[in-house]
Amino acid sequence: MRRRLPVLVGLMIFASGAARAQTAPDQTEQIRILLERVQQLEKRVGELETKTVAAAVPTAEAAAPVPAAPKPEMAEAVPASAPMHQHEQTESQATTRQLEARYPSLQIRGFGEVNFSTTDQRGAISGFNLGQLDLHLASALSHKVTYFGELTFNAQSAGYTLEVERSIIRYDYNDFFKLSFGRYHTPIGYWNTAFHHGAWLQTTISRPEMIKFGGTFIPVHFLGVLAEGNIPSGGAGLSYNAGVGNGRGFPISRPGDAGDNNNNRAWVANLYSRPAKLYGLQMGVSVYRDKITLPVNPAGNDFREWISAAHIVWTKETPEFLAEFANVNHKNILTNAITNNQAYYVQMGYRLPWFEKTLKPYYRFEHTHTPLSEQLFTNQDLVQSIVGMRYDITNYASFKGEYRNFKRLPTDPRVNGAFFQTDFTF
């Protein structure tokens, strides 16, 4: 027992120290906020003292009784013209002007990530990679018109490529009708329009396979016109997106930025609900219709594509739950051959209550199936499990570590891998 006691004491001190170390960044943040607040209050006191000196000579205004605060329900009826000094009015007007909207008002935000991966897959190379550097632009052009843009810099073996991921100009008529033009992330399902290219925003290191960037299962990008808004539906909290655009280009992972490759427009519709009484819940359905024209295909060049998808998510973090399913139906117009491809994922996470809520363990299972008779897609079969932990280093940066186990074709061996990422916004 005598031997165990020092060990126990040591463990306790270590645990306390570790806990304190975890909270240090947040304490620093709190101290910074409090210091800012103290500085603001000091400034305010200084200003008030200056005013007191200036008002030393009694005036009729100063001697006038200050009206008592009205009862809340009567507040509206009382006139707003409380007596004010000219200096005070000038200062207030300056403050107000500072916070009044100005057009255009460009805001830039960036997202970045650094990754490390290693797997036991034969021939795979472990190591670091820079991931995407993402710049997001938002600028109100008036109180009804807003521009949004997203650019990514992607590390390649011979340098960097620049990609315009989104470029949207939107006119808001009201909450029920907003019309925009440009290049979007296609509003199919949830993830594709929830996290975009901001790895820091998502719990996990990577997107699910069915909506990965550069993938083909779902057309990730969409170029055209989109209407969106709320639907008057009381507590059901319904909203919609409906759009017409170029559809898939060639290769089919791209949306035909420089023009459509056939005279058929794609269309997409997305309907979702955020029930008022279940704050955090979102569920929805999406459909997407397109005609795909391939430049060369011996069995016919044209295909009809019909994508139907559904999602249900609980966005609070205690717990977090995301699930999506999509079926991609292809019909060869020449041969009438039909194939159906399915993919889904289920992801769960939980923000732990300890260590200032900086830790969030998670698990994701995903499955993709493409039949052997599929003519448009190359085989994308996948069964994958991911277990990981997200640690929020600060309010704007996180560190993630994941173990993945996946298998593609039935004849392929299972692959195990460890993946790490630090991601941030700036």
Partner: protein, 166 residues
């Protein structure tokens, strides 16, 4: 050292250890209740009564217009103000970090052009409320001043029994 003494020391050490862990939990350390927080809007805003879920919808940026010609202008007190704590706890149901992340994501999703405007004092808040049509803010009910409209929330005004923002 006899067995009873050893047992007491072990119990004491465990108590200290658990107390240390428990004190890290903000749920135990940061519970505070006080006076009601009033939802106030510019006096020209065409609204007088909202349910709590409607207030939430406004504050989440899901409702961005009072009418087609009058956009909502969100005002929120800076961190450390009690009004902000109540808004985050009752309306957003988020921590400070989650609130910041929510607005980064909201703008990134092209669902809003800017986050709520931060105000550092009640004076500043009232100036903006009276100057900006469509402005909505949260004020300690003891500090309500003339010239603004106080909204009923779920049919209740601040000070009434079932008022939800406190």
């Amino acid at each position: 050292m006899n067995a009873t003494y050893k047992k007491r020391i072990v119990t004491l050490l465990w108590t200290i250890l658990w107390a240390t862990v428990a004190l890290q939990s903000p749920s135990l350390a940061q519970t505070s209740h006080g006076t009601d927080v009033a939802v106030v809007v510019n006096s020209d805003t065409p609204v007088a009564d909202l349910s709590l879920s409607e207030v939430r919808k406004v504050m989440l940026g899901e409702r961005q217009y009072w009418s087609s010609k009058l956009p909502v202008v969100l005002l929120i007190r800076a961190p450390a103000a009690r009004e902000r704590d109540v808004v985050l706890r009752v309306i957003y149901q988020m921590s400070e970090a989650q609130f910041k992340q929510y607005w980064v994501a909201k703008i990134f999703r092209a669902e809003a052009a800017s986050p709520p405007r931060i105000v550092y004092s009640n004076d500043m808040q009232y100036e903006l409320l009276t100057a900006l049509p469509g402005a909505i803010a949260f004020v300690d009910s003891r500090n309500i001043r003339p010239g603004v409209k106080v909204l009923r929330v779920d049919g209740h005004l601040p000070g009434e029994k079932d008022y939800p923002l406190r």
